[in-house]
Symmetry: C2
Subunit: 339 residues, 2 copies
């Protein structure tokens, strides 16, 4: 089978590609070819794999060529992040809405030309949910909570959910949209996302670096480890239409955790000196944004697919440490950890 992963050079896309290549099969079929598109090239371990072809450049410049290229499956992860989309409205509309539409139309053109209907997993986001004056946000958002995006990013994700649903209803694709929870612990450097600190308060102390938590320890949020997020995307791909349960998007599993409990887990796993590198310094801008976010999420449909969140945040911290330990720069990323 031939797969396309958009955003295949990003953190989640590369991790998904790595996981799939290691499995070698998807939905019972052997993975022969894997095309990774992204604005930046994927990591060298992926390009070294003979099955992988990397295509670098904006997705929107690549979709015309896709109109005549058959794929068995697509993971559509490419996206501008929420901070970028708030700062540059046109960038968000182009990167998230126009690119998704062009991708779906390319797949449809290929089907119209007699190709196989590709299975498509679209990565939506918990950012589709927010409060609206007419209807406050419930504490915990479910699969069927009424979405009310608070950001252009969330609006674009929600709009794409409905494009995927309608292209699926029309038989142009076999699409499924899965809402990703906040992925924690992300490796690398802090990014512009308001949610960046959810990774930072674990990652930086482990690297021996001070970290500032801009919100109260009582803030609660639905998070998911990178590994469970990838598991979720693969399970959603492999689910039969009926098992997926409808055309609308589903929530991926979340561990609903308070900042205070995240830090307690960090202390449990890495000790009090590591925990002590985090201090609280309220940032009104970030705290204001976070106050409009769900404090938790449920994922009843994902549970029926056998998907579950980590039960303890300490397990997520341990997974991050294990992931880092396997990488070449482990010395830097775990510099703060007495082992």
């Amino acid at each position: 089978m031939k797969l396309l992963i958009t955003g295949g050079g990003g953190f989640l896309g590369a991790r998904l590609a790595r996981t799939l290549l290691a499995r070698a099969t998807l939905a019972g079929e052997r993975i022969d070819r894997m095309v990774l598109t992204d604005i930046a090239p994927p990591p060298p371990d992926l390009t070294a794999d003979a099955r992988v072809e990397a295509r670098t450049g904006p997705l929107l410049t690549q979709t015309d060529a896709l109109k005549t290229e058959p794929f068995d499956g697509v993971f559509h992860l490419a996206s501008a992040v929420s901070g970028e989309c708030e700062l540059d409205f046109d960038l968000g509309m182009r990167s998230n809405l126009d690119s998704t539409r062009a991708l779906l139309d390319a797949l449809r053109a290929q089907v119209a030309a007699g190709g196989k209907v590709p299975r498509v997993v679209f990565s939506s986001s918990v950012a589709v949910f927010g409060p609206d004056p007419a209807r406050p946000l419930p504490d915990v958002v479910a699969d069927d909570t009424l979405p009310a995006p608070q950001t252009s990013y969330g609006a674009q994700k929600l709009i794409c959910e409905h494009l995927v649903a309608d292209y699926t209803r029309k038989g142009y694709i076999d699409g499924r949209a899965a809402r990703l929870m906040t992925v924690t612990v992300r490796p690398g450097r802090p990014n512009g996302a308001a949610s960046s600190f959810f990774s930072g308060i674990i990652r930086e102390p482990l690297a021996g670096v001070e970290s500032i938590c801009p919100v109260s320890p009582d803030v609660s949020h639905p998070v998911s480890s990178p590994a469970r997020t990838i598991d979720g995307l693969i399970a959603v791909y492999e689910a039969g239409r009926e098992a997926f349960g409808g055309r609308l998007a589903l929530n991926l599993p979340a561990l609903n955790v308070r900042v205070a409990d995240m830090l307690a887990a960090l202390e449990e796993v890495a000790g009090p000196e590591v925990r002590a590198r985090v201090r609280f310094e309220r940032d009104e801008r970030i705290a204001g944004i976070v106050a409009n976010w769900p404090r938790g999420a449920t994922a009843a449909r994902a549970a029926k697919l056998g998907l579950a969140p980590h039960e303890r945040f300490a397990d997520i911290v341990r997974q991050y440490i294990d992931d880092c330990a396997a990488l070449p720069d482990a010395r830097e990323t775990l510099k703060g950890l007495k082992r």
Copy 2:
């Protein structure tokens, strides 16, 4: 003030234009200019009004020029109907999604150039609601029922609701989306809409013509008269932001009525001979579509704006008769009515 009505040549658009011109003011301001865009020209009584300028052609060919033209208010009614959108997917995407986006971007460009933020009313539809395997449709849909479109038309309307909401959040427009119920009794000829019979079973018998009802007399549906629908669009325009109650779309008021009760009302108003011109002949295709429609709707937010549906369908029949009697072709449209 200067107004734009897209779809201003259509039945609802022309009726809205006529109502506004007769009122002469909107939200306390005098209406000086009214631009009506549509693929067909508006009726002569409208073009005869010195305040009216008609622009004929697809909206998408007109939006570039709008980028430098300031408007105080916009009623965006232009739309391809559901039957067309199911038959021709690209037509629906172009007429409903691309045109709305281009209109919003034109208004935004005008604001970016220093113009006033225009107030925009977008006509969405009860077609945003439908059943989904993961979540059956409730019998009665409310403002905050989770939309699950069953048609491309419904999906496009829902997507545009969220575009309007996000452009509003960003301050590019002051937008409000209002979901129209099935407008009954529409004058004119049957059209391709699956809902066409809801008007046909009243309109044709009054014109002395036999009419076939393709669904069971037990079918219930949320309907609204043309006049109440126009009242709703105007009230939504005039509502303050807070009174509108949030950014998400609201339902316009509906009379939830069974086909059997519609026909009883016809008999009450026009007599048994008129009623006898309707016979039931089940059409599986139409009955199947209608089975996926809501059996009723509530409109709590619209009620707070002082909007109410007709309480009795007989009043809607009487309104249709009065409307027809005022028109030049009254003899034809009311041919079946003994007066």
